[in-house]
Symmetry: C2
Subunit: 349 residues, 2 copies
């Protein structure tokens, strides 16, 4: 497999975003976070998205320059209008601001409306956990609906991801999951390769559970199933309602206005454990959970019980040492942009 | 079925708790919230728990009198030591305090350590939604473990419930679910009646998925499965880690101290939408979600797509008009306590 130095990929991608018009620290921040997603193995939500972002910049759907508008600031509760700026940049900035505010007020919440797409939630979490803080992120795209409510056949929700980062005495716990069993990105990739979901994670237009991702693309279209599937999908349905209410409800950027652009309403929250029982106690208890999970006998066919984020951090360490093997086709799709903007392709290792 | 006036059940249960030594508003508050759970149909977590609570009061495991100790107060971030007081009373009080603080600061978080058991999370939600506010609750019992991590065979977690209440332009959305597919209470009830789970919601000690609740009670014991089951249980595993980290980590009341009493670490958070895009916008967007879900064509065998809480609120309205039909055996189990304390049984309708 072709491998690249992660820093070279960041420089390359940042040069493309700068050439496409992004100002200030936006090119570097977005490039770093997309490469971070690839480093962690979330390769549908890393550089895979860069060509789409470049296209959105070119056609003006993603705003390239300027700052969010602060619509309200109650110290520990903020509302920003992102004005369709890069969701990756705005999310990083909102988390950093929430970390600072949480240091002062214990907990800080930033609600963001009219953001562009925010990519991989897992990639942001260490911004807070490296500071000893806890972070929650939830986001949804009010313009998209591919997931049915439990018991229903028509799509209402996006996959509605949420993520949480928890410091421990060792590596942080990094959780990033969708309220649906699987995502639109995964469905598109499997369909492109003629593959199937590992389980019956979708249903056709009549409600028959299926592992065929084509039902999301071929008419009459089916839907992705909420977590729990037909057996106990009220769980994923509840999660989707929580994610959409916190992201779209608090920001006021929701489905009622029938938005048509590729975007996101975002909910971000950071906790400072020292405002509660303290960092030592927090890390002691999360580390105890890590020990208990690691100590649980693995099921047949499972090497060991892993914590969320454990495999991603191991992948990242390996890629930082040995180079990052990108998912096939990603650099190919960036080549026309590199040519257009006169940016040299990154060297392979 | 035998029906009771809800107010009579509240008076009866409050009289028992008062006779057992609870001071101040504790007997009435706990009685109201247990009956509220029954009114909503959550009948494993309503008056079904009253005999257990009376026994815990009698043997001193639940403290009957006094107040929580405020360990930290950062205005929008509080830590209370509940000193083993009734978790039902302390949760109601913490939510009311968080509602008041959220009015001032936008968002308020109360972390509670060393609480006794908190019963039905759904029963508390309208305390906040009736005020136009959003509430989240998560709790776990660090002394109990019946749920395995995904891929593991040994229990690490409690069912780890979390709940959310969202105001809309009409009825609120009331979500209350466990991170595991089902709960200890449901397992105990089905086992008692010789029944089975509707799906393979547990696994035996060797990891074979099963619908038999007896595997939780007979040696060698099995475990409850996290939401998603063997197919995609990394979802419920992530939810459990979020619930335990927020409840036990922030409060410092976790598994590391190997507590042995029946208790709870609690995470409570209230949002004031007016600190963000405002109540009108919030309710508009949640109402839009309600409309979209109601408008989704129902699957075969489903009458209509319902919102979480919809059936519970309908049940409650019916019971307020026509009397509450308690689950069989509940009053029988309270009879010895009524006799002991000289409290007359509630009249049947």
């Amino acid at each position: 497999m072709t491998r690249y130095r992660p820093a070279d990929l960041v420089d390359f991608t940042a040069a493309l975003f700068a050439a496409a018009g992004m100002d200030g620290d936006k090119p570097a921040t977005v490039a770093e976070l997309l490469v971070e997603a690839d480093l962690m193995g979330h390769d549908t939500h890393g550089l895979n998205l860069a060509p789409n972002y470049l296209r959105e910049l070119e056609n003006g759907e993603m705003r390239a320059t300027g700052d969010p508008e602060v619509l309200s600031d109650h110290k520990a509760a903020l509302l920003w209008d992102a004005r369709r700026l890069s969701g990756v940049w705005i999310t990083a900035r909102a988390i950093d601001e929430a970390c600072n505010r949480a240091s002062d007020y214990g907990v800080a919440t930033v609600s963001v409306r009219e953001s562009h797409h925010i990519a991989c939630l897992a990639a942001y979490l260490t911004r807070a956990t490296n500071r000893g803080q806890v972070v929650l992120i939830a986001c949804s795209d009010p313009a998209v609906a591919t997931v049915a409510p439990h018991g229903g056949l028509d799509p209402v929700f996006t996959p509605d991801p949420f993520a949480a980062g928890f410091p421990t005495e060792g590596d942080p716990i990094l959780i990033d999951m969708s309220s649906s069993i699987t995502t639109n990105g995964m469905a598109g990739r499997l369909r492109g390769g003629g593959e199937h979901f590992p389980g019956k994670w979708a249903q056709d237009h009549a409600g028959n559970a299926t592992n065929d991702p084509r039902i999301l693309f071929d008419e009459p279209k089916g839907t992705l199933l909420p977590t729990g599937g037909h057996d106990h999908g009220h769980k994923g349905y509840g999660m989707a309602l929580i994610v959409e209410s916190l992201s779209q409800g608090l920001s006021g950027d929701g489905r009622s206005s029938k938005p048509s652009f590729w975007g996101a309403a975002i909910f971000i929250q950071v906790f400072e454990p020292d405002a509660f029982a303290g960092r030592v106690a927090f890390n002691r208890e999360t580390s105890e959970l890590v020990s208990l999970c690691h100590g649980s006998r693995p099921a047949v066919g499972i090497e060991k019980v892993r914590l969320p984020g454990e495999r991603a951090l191991a992948r990242k360490r390996d890629a930082m040492r040995n180079g990052l093997a990108l998912y096939p086709g990603i650099v190919d799709r960036l080549e026309p942009w590199a040519e257009k903007y006169g940016v040299p392709l990154p060297q392979t290792l």
